[in-house]
Amino acid sequence: MAFSFSEDQDMFRDTLRRSLADQPRHGDVPTDPRDWRMAQMGALADLGVFAALLPETTGGLGLGPVEAMIIGEELGRAVLATPLIDTVALTGLLLIHAEQPGQHCDLLTGIIEGRVIGAFAGDAVLDPQSGFVTRQLGGSWRVTGTAPVVTFAPVAETIVLVGTVAGDTDSLAIFAVPADRVAHAVPFWTIDDLPAASIVLQDADLGQPFAVGAAAAAALAQGWDIALLMQAAELNGLMATLLNQTASHLRLRKQFGVSLSSFQALQHRFAEMVLAYQQSLALTHKAAWLFDAGSATEHGPLLWAMAAQAGQASRQIGHEAIQMHGAMGLTEELIVGPAVKRIVALEPRLGRAQFHVDRYASFLSSKAA
């Protein structure tokens, strides 16, 4: 049966889970976001997390969607906020579609070794009305627009920037720009303690895009879809940790002389959390396996279904976990608080749950038309 993990995949998961459990979660947070360094970058690179999804021709391991899902889920379980999705899926996997292969060799090597971070300014993928407008002017391209929150921009080496092509909102152009060429406003922190910045461009000369139109769509079909999958998987991992933590709290915590788990109101709400999580996990697994089988027409809508459910379920489970922990759930002392903050920050990055439901709805109505 194809809907099961191979032995290699199980081993990969076990290794990741063990190694990530040993990683210290909290580093010292510097005052200036530009000084942010992730203590675990080297360790993650040693585990092959950055190499896993990049093709072997670039020095990667050439693994697929199922492994992408496994990585995402384990990072979520460990409540580890990493630049993995931005760097590997939304920078590395997009760049391998560059017109001249080899053009970005050094960058890809840097990514694989855990030295280089990528950032992604791609609001235009979600909504052509927001994000950047690009215009070809003789030999160069001019870009205008604002990306209000670009996570990792202050520490990235390269920023991948997506804009619509002026006069043709269906067509996208993707640029890879050295970070120092994109002037950005004052850097800030996101609520999950990651460095971010706004990027504001006015008729900026960004040279040539590395993919336009059909080529851009093809690049995004890989990178963006893998990013969506990894994000849902990370949310699943976060949910699993919250469920484990909440189940053990309900069992151990006593009030009125009895364990909280004996109260029916809590039992029923907990059961709904389990259901929401299992639904999300089911859709993520199904999407990953179909994606892996190369069934693009089937996995497309399924990815939206997955993203919608992962978003809704993680929000529900996060808020319920806080409620069931009482005031302790609001602190940074338990894993609950940081996990919920990560969910709140992560969930909208590639489109909110409602966005994906709507996209699914327009797919259904266009099918009926």
Partner: protein, 392 residues
């Protein structure tokens, strides 16, 4: 392609498709979606045609087993039947009673009852619930008293689906009033509905149709061969049956068919209503997608022995929710047309559909009650998690 199937699976699916093309007459397609219940003779003939392929007897004693279908193949069969809008197969006989008798029945019981199920001639009614024993089934009061040549059963059963058309009856009755736990004093009996002393009172439901009955058992004398398995083990058999029922009780494929019917009605709704309806439809299709995969995995896990224990409860809870919400959406999308059931002026898409959505949206409130209410399922899920202490 939904699944990466093996060559055997693909060949099986082709076989099913070829069979459907040849043996499912066009006029039979969609009969179960109509407002009226399909003709029993048609269903019996449909069961016989499928049985002739050996597809209905997986897990039966070897002398009956036509083909041992894998979990995947059974799933594929369900999907293909639903896609072809084949008449719905009766779950009570094929998915509940037959596996029960195949597993716990004596050879004589198997030889008598199983062929009658496969020929479609028997309709079964289940006598579990009583006026004083609903969700708390173990408190049932119907008694079976041992006499020389068998038992005498006395009591009342209620919410008995199809008792008015059934030919056979299986019921739980108390055989030991002094058992340490009420569960340990219950036995299960199989008897013809024509046994003297059985009388049936119809109970009308708000959908205007006749599903339920009250069954009175007044000095019903049965031979000792009417006992299923061992005396006082009835609770175990009922549990096995409900487990069995719950894995299939989400009844996913008919819900898939319902979804496409609702989509048709939504597409014809008033324009300003449509975006809102599509959003709800999308949400329900997302839920259904997850339900289908959860069901598939639950069967896989049951086969591999890797279940967590609460899978049937998840399926039941979600299956009922999706079915009920879809029916409400269909009813709402039809608007007032839903009530104009048989108006000659109703547009074509609404005629029949209106009756269907209004009545079913009422009747299927039952889905979160029967087979263990949603509240019971939630409690089972939570208790399983808390008692096992297994990690997610």
């Amino acid at each position: 392609m939904l699944f990466s199937l093996t060559d055997d699976d693909l060949a099986f699916r082709e076989e099913v498709r070829a069979f459907l093309a040849e043996h499912l007459p066009p006029e039979w397609r969609g009969v179960s979606e109509m407002s009226s219940r399909p003709d029993r003779a048609l269903i019996a003939e449909w069961i016989r045609r499928l049985a002739a392929q050996g597809w209905l007897t997986t897990g039966w004693p070897r002398r009956y087993a036509g083909r041992a279908l894998t979990v995947t193949q059974r799933y594929l069969l369900d999907v293909e039947l639903a896609n072809a809008r084949a008449p719905l197969l009766p779950n009570m006989e094929l998915k509940m009673v037959a596996p029960l008798i195949a597993r716990f029945g004596s050879e004589a019981q198997q030889d008598y009852y199983l062929p009658r199920i496969l020929s479609g001639e028997d309709i079964w009614a289940q006598g579990f619930s009583e006026p004083e024993a609903g969700s708390d089934l173990a408190s049932l009061r119907t008694t079976a008293t041992r006499v020389d040549d068998g038992y005498v059963i006395d009591g009342r059963k209620i919410w008995t689906t199809n008792a008015h058309i059934a030919t056979q009856f299986f019921c739980l009755a108390r055989t030991d009033r002094d058992a340490v736990k009420p569960q340990r004093g219950i036995s299960m009996f199989l008897l013809p509905m024509t046994t003297p002393g059985i009388s049936v009172r119809p109970i009308r439901t708000i959908d205007g149709r006749h599903h339920f009955n009250e069954v009175f058992l007044d000095q019903v004398h049965v031979p000792s061969t009417a006992l299923l398995g061992e005396e006082n083990k009835g609770w175990n058999y009922a549990k096995a049956l409900l487990e069995n029922e719950r894995l299939g009780i989400a009844d996913v494929q008919p819900t898939r068919v319902l979804l496409s019917q609702v989509a048709t009605v939504v597409a014809l709704a008033r324009e300003y209503d449509r975006p809102g309806f599509y959003r709800r439809l999308a949400q329900l299709e997302i839920d259904l997608e997850s339900l289908e995969f959860l069901e598939f995995r639950a069967f896989e896990n049951a086969r591999l022995g890797t279940e967590r224990g609460y899978e049937p409860s998840l399926l039941k809870l979600l299956g009922a929710r999706v079915r009920q919400e879809l029916l409400i959406l269909g009813r709402e999308a039809l608007g007032t047309l839903a009530e104009a059931q048989s108006s000659p002026h109703a547009p074509r898409h609404a005629s029949g559909a209106g009756e269907h959505f209004v009545n079913d949206s009422l009747f299927y409130r039952a889905m979160s009650i029967y087979g263990g209410s949603s509240e019971i399922q939630r409690e089972l899920i939570a208790r399983t998690v808390f008692s096992q202490g297994r990690e997610f």
